[in-house]
Amino acid sequence: MTTSVPTKTLNIDGLDVAINGERNLLELIRKADIELPTFCYHSDLSVYGACRLCLVEIEGRGIQSACSTPPEAGLKVRTHTEEIREIRKISIELLLANHDQQCPTCLKSNSCQLKSVARQLGVDRVRFKRVHEPEPLDYSSVALIRDPNKCILCGDCVRFCAEVQSVGAIDFAYRGHDAAVLPAFGQGLGDGECINCGQCAAVCTTGALTPRPEIDEVWRALNDPTKFVVAQVAPAVRVALGEEFGLEPGVVTSGQMVAALKRLGFERVYDTSFAADLTVLEEANEFLRRKAKNENLPQFTSCCPGWVKFAEQYFPDLLPQLSTCRSPQQMLGALCKELLPAEINRERKDIVVVSVMPCTAKKFEAKRPEFTHDGSPDVDHVLTTQELARMIIEAGLRYDKLKPESYDMPMGFKTGAGVLFGNSGGVSEAVLRYAAEKVSGETLRSPDFHAVRGEDGLRLATVEIGGQVLKLAVVHGLKNARTLADKVRRGKTDLDLIEVMACPGGCIGGAGQPVSRNADVRRLRTRGIYDVDKNLDLHKSQENHFVNEVYTRHLGEIGGKRAHKLLHTCYVPRFPVEATPPATPGVTTTP
């Protein structure tokens, strides 16, 4: 920025720091490379000011919280005075007194912020007695576990759910030292409006909200000689799994990942991107059909199960506008269960499909009744990226020493388009790469559609293909989706296609990914996905000859009857959300 005004500075611990549009003192202090501890500050969310750890001493004003103080030129700020250190320590002690300190067995043990801040501040003992009676855990959700005994009421989950997702499935209830974060009316998390996106768990500073692991079930299947266990891995997993083993975000470790899965005992390792290529063909054709008839437009994508439940709850009238395509996870699951029995000469019930997903809502999706046939679900178990890492660690595999292996064919083969699904904007781009050629009949010279890429939560793009102008919207964060869907409902848009992903940045920012509170991490993962696309030989789904072979050998034509049976689904309106009173007061207690 060019400006003639002299730079304004303020003084932090004796260091002059320039003010450059920072929203608050905390951002400025962190920019000066001083790590102020916080629990309730999250750059994506509103300032809450509850954890009282980012206290600083401002000359002439006394002790203030840095997160809620706007930077002003000339301030003299001290961040670690004796008094402040003492206050911070006692704050942590108080929080620990109210926290169920089961650290060794806690799922969040490695990413617990409470633990790391306690370490950082040198808290070496807790002088207070524990004051809460242990409360039962909430196992009512298939995607998440809520452990009220670990909650420190930082409120990040509440604000994320309300501010970013506009769901508000959880909020504060009661007051004083009975205050708690709860779903409405004492229901279980799984009984209400939760859309299972799991971002509450992703931002949770402790282990109060965690993705519900299915590791035990998967180990059991792997060790069962009567079962044939197949893995499918979502695109976004490959750019994040390495983080659990000390690698930079965005570093692609597909080879090691496949090797690890094989070592764990999976008989086949398929790539969900293969099914994503299928999705592109189905969804693009569906879209072009609708466009030709000008009905049920704009078409909403349907690969994000969080968004699907959200739409079922709040926009039941728009459900006909959702693509009927199953998500890639469910397409691949259906194909595995349909095609493998013949190929390996086993029964459907003996095949166990385990998907590895960056997502907690996929756990819910896999258990939707539409996706279970003859008592056997198309996808049996869903592991998150975190869970796969834990299994690898549990099996004692040295990730960095694994020799890269390849996915199994045919369903391990994908084009770059299928991988793009991991990014927000990826589905749109993949569909465009197909539709452009289909409409114009010409070969695309460059497959990249930069118009749909970017970080904004709501992006509009106009693309011309074959003389036809298409208007697209790419949305992540369901509050943005709600804004847009409201407009669609009121007929205030002239859009053709709307891609919705619940999580920030798309699947790469899913709640099943390694925990991080840093927006840069998402950026690096996004780049990783685009790099995979760049490095692959093929970039368009229609070039995936294995996909074409599946059509010719098994599915018939695109959008045909058999394809419809295996690759499409239907939706159920869920609004008003049925209030199912819990069987016993409080929450479901049995896992």
Binding site: A50, T69, E83, I87, I90, L153, F172, H177
Partner: protein, 673 residues
């Protein structure tokens, strides 16, 4: 009805509505009603009909004599204007026939006028007597008897009635005599003085200088100026008899908003909610904020245990508060106001609602008020009883329909408040003062009080005090004066131990410091705060550890639970205090208490948590030995020590029942805070 015009108000100002010649005002505030004022009202109504008396029966709010509820004020032709207290419905016919028929006052029910006459400007018709030296028995009856005998002897018995008073407003001054209607008051009257009083004063019309009580009343009623005087349900009464809306008219037609703020600056009025922020500055900051909409909020979420100032004002004088709010709105350019009143105050809500309806009906709310071009309207929002909603940001959240939790400041409400707009939040008492300042001038207001704390302050004095009541005194009055001179000292003649001010955010002030003049600064220096005006008197039987526990418990219950220092710190502090009071305290506990308190004070998000440790810290500061006794010897030892201490201090005085009085000199009602 026709909207009021500027001319109508001018007419009211030029010619106030005259009082009817004979009337009874029944004080129907919540306190009065709880004590039976409604039934007294009905009984009076019935008796009036039966006795065919033409006197008007009127409704008012409370003048503040909570100790004597139900209270009525009576005006009859040829009679001094008096307050009667401790009435029952059964007394109604007697009261009417005696007062209006026989022109006699009722024994043991008259509350003496606080006005102290210095000259005998009228023939004495009634003599109020009372024994205020309560410690050595009741001599009221003896006094009354002696006076009557003396009057008989002088042949004045038919002209002058001698009445035992319920309360004389003077305490520990021996036998006190007030001559009505001039209200000349004699104190420390001895047996041989009676003849002098009858001869010289009653018969001769001369004031006896050596007996004369010259001390003016300590109270100055500015906030409470209309309480008990006007009918809270009548706009006409307010307009006709209380200069109603004259200050608003003055502001709208003769002043600019800047001039209003300037007048407030001259008055040096500071927020009466407790923190003492200069009111003019709050208005100025709100006004200076560019916005399409500004809001003004009246904070009526009074929640301190034992405090009832705001309730009384809202119930007794709702139009004054509304007028104050409208002036505030005019000054800062707000066109919408909210009364945030706790739902536990149904009477206050009802009366404010009626005031709003009446004002709207007469065009005092709405568009183009009085033809001035000023638009304003106001609504009520009910608080659901959370103490923390008295905190500005939590109050705003509550009005907006969100959970009542505080948010960090900045942004301050004056910058971004209700619905994101600049908002000024003023306490009930503050707003009630505003019209008075505009009418009489900021300089007049500033002439009361101390250098840094100008004006007067209303206190609700409760606890172990003889006359629990509302008191309005100039800033700078000492605590001792308030407790002893205005409220009559400690209940049952016990020894005072401490006075608690500021409610759960305040602290205790021990006996040796009761000479402290009340102001924002002095109380803070003593480790307490002014607060909204609750004042709790404690005697020697009160354990200070229990007092600390009580207030802390209140804050722990009322914490919203948002920030850890308040939510968990308060709870842990309570655990430590519980431990100590059960005799399980450890030597390190006092240090631990200090550590938690310090963190709470410095790190809590809002005022509730920051001030919650005050009662603990101040009791520890002044009564540390009580904590030590609990820690070292356990509860029974501590209680024994406390009893010994209390016996030691009371033994110095003769026991209360030495005169074997069969009845208490003054029927003191049981007062619970």
């Amino acid at each position: 009805m026709n909207p009021l015009t500027r001319q109508d108000l001018a007419n009211f100002a030029a010619q106030p509505t005259p009082d009817p010649t004979e009337w009874i005002r029944v004080q129907l505030d919540t306190g009065g009603i709880a004590a039976g004022a409604e039934t007294v009202y009905v009984a009076l109504e019935q008796a009036l009909a039966e006795q065919h008396r033409g006197c008007e029966l009127l409704r008012t709010g409370s003048v503040g004599y909570s100790f004597a509820d139900p209270v009525v004020e009576v005006q009859a032709a040829g009679m001094p204007r008096v307050h009667y207290g401790a009435l029952t419905p059964e007394l109604a016919p007697t009261l009417l026939s005696e007062h209006f028929g026989a022109h006699r006052l009722l024994d043991d029910h008259v509350i003496a006028s606080r006005r102290r006459g210095l000259v005998l400007d009228a023939t004495v018709t009634h003599v109020l007597v009372g024994d205020t030296g309560a410690a050595d028995g009741n001599k009221s009856e003896f006094l009354q008897f002696s006076f009557r005998e003396e009057l008989k002897r002088r042949g004045l018995a038919d002209r002058v009635q001698v009445v035992r008073a319920l309360d004389l407003g003077i305490y520990d001054e021996g036998a006190v005599v007030q001559l009505l209607p001039s209200a000349v008051t004699y104190t420390n009257v001895l047996a041989h003085d009676i003849a002098r009083i009858v001869t010289e004063s009653i018969d001769g019309g001369r004031v006896i200088d050596d007996l004369l009580w010259k001390m003016p009343d300590k109270q100055v009623r500015i906030v409470l100026r209309h309480c008990g005087e006007v009918d809270p349900d009548s706009l006409e009464d307010y307009l006709g008899r209380a200069q109603g809306y004259q200050a608003l008219a003055k502001a709208l037609f003769t002043l600019t908003p800047e001039q209003v703020i300037a007048e407030m600056k001259v008055s040096a009025l500071r927020g009466r909610g407790g923190a003492g922020f200069p009111t003019w500055m709050k208005w100025q900051l709100t006004r200076a904020q560019p916005s399409a909409q500004h809001y003004v909020i009246c904070n009526g979420d009074e929640g301190d245990p034992g405090a009832f100032m705001d309730r009384s004002v809202l119930e007794s004088d709702p139009h004054t508060v509304l007028e104050g709010m409208m002036i505030a709105a005019f000054a800062m350019g707000a066109s919408m106001g909210y009364f945030y009143i706790r739902a536990e105050y149904p009477k206050a809500v009802e009366r404010i609602q009626r005031a709003l309806d009446q004002a709207r009906e007469r065009g005092l709310l709405g568009r183009n008020i009085l033809g001035s071009g000023f638009d304003f309207d106001a609504k009520i929002r009910l608080g659901a009883g959370a103490f923390v909603c008295g905190e500005e940001t939590a109050l705003i959240a509550s009005i907006e329909g969100r959970r009542g939790s505080p948010s960090p400041r900045p942004p301050y409400p004056s910058v971004r408040g209700l619905w994101g707009m600049p908002t000024a939040i003023n306490n009930v008492e503050t707003l009630a003062i505003v019209p008075a300042i505009l009418l009489r001038g900021g300089a007049w207001y500033a002439s009361h009080g101390t250098e840094t704390s100008r004006g007067t302050k209303v206190f609700a004095v409760t606890g172990k005090v003889r006359n629990a009541q509302l008191v309005e005194v100039p800033m700078g009055t000492t605590l001792r004066e308030i407790v002893f001179d205005v409220c009559g000292g400690v209940l049952d003649g016990k020894e005072i131990k401490a006075v608690q001010t500021g409610g759960p955010s305040g602290g205790v002030i021990p006996t040796p410091l009761l000479h402290t003049p009340v102001s924002y600064e002095t109380l803070q220096q003593l480790g307490s705060i002014m607060g909204s005006g609750g004042m709790l008197v404690m005697d020697q039987s009160d354990s200070m550890v229990d007092v600390a526990k009580f207030y802390l418990r209140f804050c722990v219950d009322e914490s919203c639970g948002k920030c850890a220092p308040c939510r968990i710190g308060g709870y842990q502090l309570q655990q430590v205090l519980d431990r100590i009071s059960r005799g399980r305290g450890a030597p390190g506990d006092l240090a631990l208490i200090h550590r938690i308190c310090h963190a709470m004070q410095k790190a809590s998000l809002c005022g509730l948590g920051q001030t919650a440790p005050n009662p603990v810290l101040s009791t520890l500061r002044y009564f540390g030995e009580e904590y030590q006794a609990f820690i070292e010897g356990g509860p029974s030892y501590a209680r024994k020590m406390s009893r010994v201490a209390s016996v030691a201090t009371t033994a110095a005085k003769p026991p209360a029942d030495a005169g074997s009085a069969t009845r208490s000199p003054i029927p003191v009602k049981e007062v619970s805070p």
